[in-house]
């Protein structure tokens, strides 16, 4: 039985794993999902990737009312890996409209700096993280550079 089928018994997942992208799960199941994976042998913490999806105006079809603005959203994808021969990865995403996601620090100590980095660059706050400070940028930096509304050449005194 594949790991996906095992997880489907416990969590509310689609019948087949989505093709070409990780499965999306509700944010309140995030920690339980990670715990289940860790117990199933996915013990190596690989990475966490947060992405920002800003509010945009979708294209209107000709002669129709323009559709409503999309809501601003954040996606946090987590990747775990099983160790040893036949090693494979498992990735899942949570999608939130408020950039607050529970931390995995209690399960994986490595989530400490990774989540701090994502907070620093994308601005997703990881709840219950023991030390949510900036990692890459100076402590007095304004904004979160990897958000889509942050210009790549944002003015930084005194250089630009």
């Amino acid at each position: 039985m594949s790991i996906y089928e095992q997880l489907r018994e416990r969590f509310d997942l689609p019948e087949e794993p989505p093709e070409g992208e990780p499965v999306v799960i509700p944010v309140d199941q995030h920690v339980a999902f990670a715990t289940a994976l860790k117990e199933a042998g996915f013990t190596l913490y690989v990475t966490v990737c947060a992405a920002h999806f800003p509010s945009v105006q979708p294209k209107a079809k000709k002669g129709e009312e323009p559709p409503p603005m999309t809501t601003e959203a954040w996606e946090v994808a987590t990747v775990l890996r099983s160790v040893g021969t036949g090693s494979e990865t498992f990735a899942w995403r949570v999608r939130v409209e408020r950039p607050v996601v529970p931390t995995l620090y209690s399960l994986f100590a490595g989530a400490d700096w990774q989540e701090r980095e994502q907070y620093d660059l994308v601005g997703v706050v990881f709840e219950n993280h023991p030390d949510m400070r900036r990692l890459m940028m100076p402590e007095d930096w304004d904004g979160h550079p990897l958000r889509k509304d942050y210009a790549i050449d944002t003015r930084v005194a005194p250089w630009r």
Partner: protein, 393 residues
């Protein structure tokens, strides 16, 4: 079953430490000869014993991930050369494999074997540089460490010359692209590779002998002990994980390139300390020498790059979705989490997250340093082999 000391809590409040103690806060870095670049560690010292260590990366944060969102897939490769500047070849491979997976491109067999050879040669070069700088940390810039560093740089130059023969560049090659390689094997390259391998192999024994002395052993043994469970939780990969006794190597466990054609023997050492990491890396160098020799005999003919015109961006129009690809670089699993479809034409990533093995490695210092002496900081940091370009990106 080996028992390890209790795990250090890196977030413990320094105010709660013994109020009688006379603590000294010492900043190492960002400009320090032994922090391997611009890493900064804040140490709280009780005498010379470290009570708490706090790491501050980010002094080389160059916004690579933001930059990648502005470039098309073929333009990203040269950026990745600069990112782990000790092993540019494997960086290019990591990111291009992610693109190939997202775009569904097939790599010809000749390119796959060539990529494997390049990756293994790069592994030798990278570990040689690591050996030199590690002994430099233990032995000092005016001391025995400097001597060994000069020797290892001599051998590293030989390998860089091979790369220069192939790509015309010493350092930042830009030889991989989605779907294959740019530079085909020049005439006489195989002979040159064999000559270099023959030159390096006996010298590795000499370096082993140089490190097999009591001072080296007492400086590395039982220093920076990283228990296996903590190593997994911290996401350690590569020699750091294998030095903690976990038999895990993506070259064997999840083969890519042409690693399924050869039998990779994985070096594991369950010492969990700096000495174990040293042994793993030296064993890996010997294994890589063997692998390159074996692979040189099985280079097939045929094209080096896929038939699809990579410069045309139109074919990438449909590139959507999210993929994760990780490969085994000299420092561990270098992964790329890629969300496709950023550009209007879909030719650029929407978001590209690099999973640097060095950032995970360097995060371990907060767990490894407390309880050790000031001198062990450089040993532990050196044994983790962090490259700041990769840590900060």
């Amino acid at each position: 079953m080996r028992t390890f000391p209790a795990r250090v809590d890196p977030h413990f409040d320094i105010e709660e430490y013994d109020p009688e103690a006379d603590l000294m806060a010492l900043n190492m870095g960002p400009q320090h000869p032994s922090t391997h670049g611009v890493f900064r560690i804040k140490l709280f010292l009780d005498g010379e014993t470290i009570v708490k260590a706090v790491g501050y990366p980010g002094y080389l944060h160059r916004g690579v991930e933001k930059l990648c969102e502005k470039l098309t897939y073929v333009q990203i490769t040269p950026i990745f050369d600069k990112h782990d500047y000790v092993a540019p070849m494997t960086n290019e491979q990591a990111v291009n494999m992610a693109f190939e997976k997202l775009l569904g491109l097939e790599v010809p067999m000749r390119a796959r074997v060539l990529r494997t050879i390049l990756a293994e040669l790069q592994r030798i070069a990278s570990h040689l540089l690591w050996l030199g700088t590690f002994t430099l940390d233990i032995g000092g810039t005016i001391g025995g460490g400097a001597s060994l560093m000069m020797y290892t740089f001599r051998e590293r130059e030989m390998i860089l010359d091979l790369f220069e023969m192939l790509t015309g560049c010493r350092f930042h090659y830009n030889t991989h692209s989605p779907g294959g390689n740019r530079h085909d094997i020049p005439e006489g390259w195989e002979t040159a590779v064999k000559a270099v391998l023959d030159a390096i192999e006996p010298r590795l024994d000499e370096y082993d002998a140089l490190c097999d002395n009591d001072i080296f052993l007492v400086r590395t043994k039982d220093i920076g002990v990283l228990p296996p469970d903590l190593a997994l939780e911290l996401g350690q990969t590569g020699p750091v994980l294998r030095g903690s006794g976990i038999d895990h190597d993506l070259r064997r466990d999840a083969p890519y390139h042409a690693y399924d054609l050869v039998n990779v023997k994985v070096a594991v050492d369950d010492g969990c300390d700096c000495l174990a990491r040293y042994r793993v890396r030296v064993a890996e160098m010997r294994e890589s020498l063997r692998l390159v020799r074996e692979l040189l005999t099985m280079i097939p003919g045929g094209p080096i790059i896929g038939s699809k015109p990579i410069k045309s961006l139109v074919q990438f129009k449909a590139a959507k979705g999210q993929v994760y690809v990780g490969i085994e670089t000299p420092r561990g699993e270098l992964g790329t989490y890629l969300i496709g479809g950023g550009d209007q034409r879909g030719a650029a990533p929407y978001r590209l997250k690099i999973r640097p093995p060095s950032l995970h490695a360097v995060a371990a210092v907060e767990y490894l340093l407390p309880g050790h002496m000031l001198s062990d900081v450089v040993t532990v940091l050196g044994s983790l082999d962090p490259i700041m370009g990769e840590v900060d990106r």
